[in-house]
């Protein structure tokens, strides 16, 4: 397997991205193709230890964080993110990982590889930690305005991802709303509720914001606006809470002692809520594998995103997703 990493994408690119790619190559025994400016990458590779598993694919351009995604991807044919997806198309790599402009990563993935048959809107899936196991939230930012059918398809795609890649057996699906009754929520949610109800999915009904951590469901479907707010909120809240706890403990002698003894547990705990642990969000619904990472990804986040990419490939999520979409269209045609 060979994973292309967009070496020019991210707030700390290429330095931190190359470090993460090297970690992945060494620790995960993975072949990595760094896509981007050869000189910038080369300098970084020299600083770090070289690896036999690392290749470099040169390109001239970069899509910047603040550029309008679609326009930039269309115009910059030699940008690292476009070239990376082209490498999938040419069969030279199996997946792409990027911490660059996430809209551009999405656009490049869709433009270059196309959508899986029947998929109207590819979506980003994010994994949340929880007391009762992991929860997938989809969409976390690819689609700000969704029709009910889009939400329903997110559910089908997340089901395929969860069962093929995360070993979730017939995962329970909930629709994010502001009340548990089917009649509650906005127009879009009420109509999507009916689509889920009529399907073969393991749909439990509407769930609320609290259910991301309640263990009631394994998959939560929402539009990309709400999902993105939820994702960013929870990431920051985890950091804020652990800072506030430390501050609170440092303010008393007993607390300080507690911190001294508990530091290791606290660290393990913080790691659980650190998004770097999951690395990135897979793009569900394109003909290939793309993982979207945070702009401020650490080397560890990049490494874990490569791991996610390789799991996605190994478990043939794309194949499973195609099958479920085909099933869905056959069922739709029959009714």
């Amino acid at each position: 397997m060979n994973i292309a990493v967009d070496a020019m994408g991210g707030d700390y690119a290429p330095e931190v991205v190359v470090q993460g790619a090297l970690q992945a190559a060494v620790e995960l025994d993975m072949n990595i193709t760094l896509v981007g400016n050869r000189k910038a990458i080369g300098d970084e590779l020299k600083v770090n230890h070289d690896s036999a598993h690392i290749g470099v694919y040169h390109c001239e351009e970069v899509v910047l964080m603040e550029e309008p995604p679609l326009k930039a991807v269309r115009q910059k044919k030699q940008s690292s993110i476009r070239v990376a997806f082209d490498l999938i198309k040419k069969g030279k790599v199996d997946a792409v990982v990027s911490a660059g402009n996430s809209g551009a990563t999405l656009a490049a993935g869709i433009l270059t590889l196309g959508r899986i048959e029947g998929v109207e809107r590819p979506a980003l899936a994010s994994i949340f930690p929880g007391n009762e196991g992991e929860v997938i939230l989809v969409d976390v930012g690819a689609n700000v305005d969704c029709r009910p059918m889009h939400l329903f398809q997110f559910g089908i795609m997340a089901n395929a991802f969860a069962s093929s890649c995360l070993n979730m057996d017939d995962p329970k699906i909930g629709l994010l709303s502001i009340g548990e009754e089917g009649g509650k929520g906005n127009e879009q949610v009420r109509l999507a509720h009916d689509l889920f109800r009529a399907s073969h999915l393991n749909f439990v009904g509407n769930v609320e914001g609290r259910d991301i951590f309640s263990g009631k469901v394994q998959i939560i479907v929402c539009d990309g606006f709400v999902g993105n707010v939820a994702l960013k909120l929870s990431e920051r809240m985890a950091v804020a809470m652990s800072k506030m706890l430390e501050k609170e403990m440092m303010s008393s002698l007993a607390g300080k002692a507690g911190l001294l003894f508990g530091r290791r547990s606290l660290k393990k705990f913080n790691k659980k809520f650190d998004y770097a642990e999951y690395g990135g969000a897979p793009i569900l619904g394109i003909n290939g594998v793309g993982i979207v990472c945070h702009g401020d990804s650490s080397a560890r986040a990049i490494k874990n995103a490569v791991k996610m990419a390789s799991n996605y490939v190994k478990n043939n999520v794309q194949g499973s997703l195609s099958l479920k979409m085909a099933d869905f269209h056959i069922n739709m045609a029959q009714t």
Copy 2:
């Protein structure tokens, strides 16, 4: 001052609600009128110690949690929530606190007292704790589908609430979106952005989910769907995180010792993130004071909601809100 408490509203009504009201009467030296079934309340008052500050106002009906709010409020003229707001209208109490059906509380408040002149949609404001001080999120559930003008008015109302009741001087306002640039977000947010930009409010632009805890702004405006998801998510996440931390610490000897020494700090910390600390969300924009509490409010939550109600009255938030709305309409007429 006299605060009406809907004794029949809430998952643990009337027991816990009456307990909370008693706590408020004693600890805050407040006059409370318990509205609801005299017998049910009386039994509870006898169990607890009686207080000279507590009165009972009998009514026969209750709006149940699962009833459609508007219909129930219209039909059940003798329900505790309607009677409570009627008491404001008759000048017998200064505010209403309810942990009952929140849609019904909103509907009863709007129907009975009417909207402040110029306010198109009353909204629910919730206070979030944070590293850098408190943050108001508005709307957290009153309006699931909002027009840009509604969002803009939420900002004006929250500004009045923050400056008159929470001592925030010219609070910074952000519009919740999925990217910081003005062009990002959905249609509704893009148009609201322009309204804020053109106003005299201290508008800093779009903010993201993470900014609820970043200290970048003191007020975050969003529609009631997104706001409700964010509220429920953060409340549950706080509980989940502290449970997971405890579990993590209990799994090692050093962690157990840490927990022993740190328990007090941990408790203080948990309290900070406990919504009961704030009691409830005020309804901004009606001609009177109504505080909406969680269905599963504890006695402490009810007590703190009474405190919130009394601060709202004392600081004449309603007057300040009316003035700001009038200012806004004068400015609109001039442009």
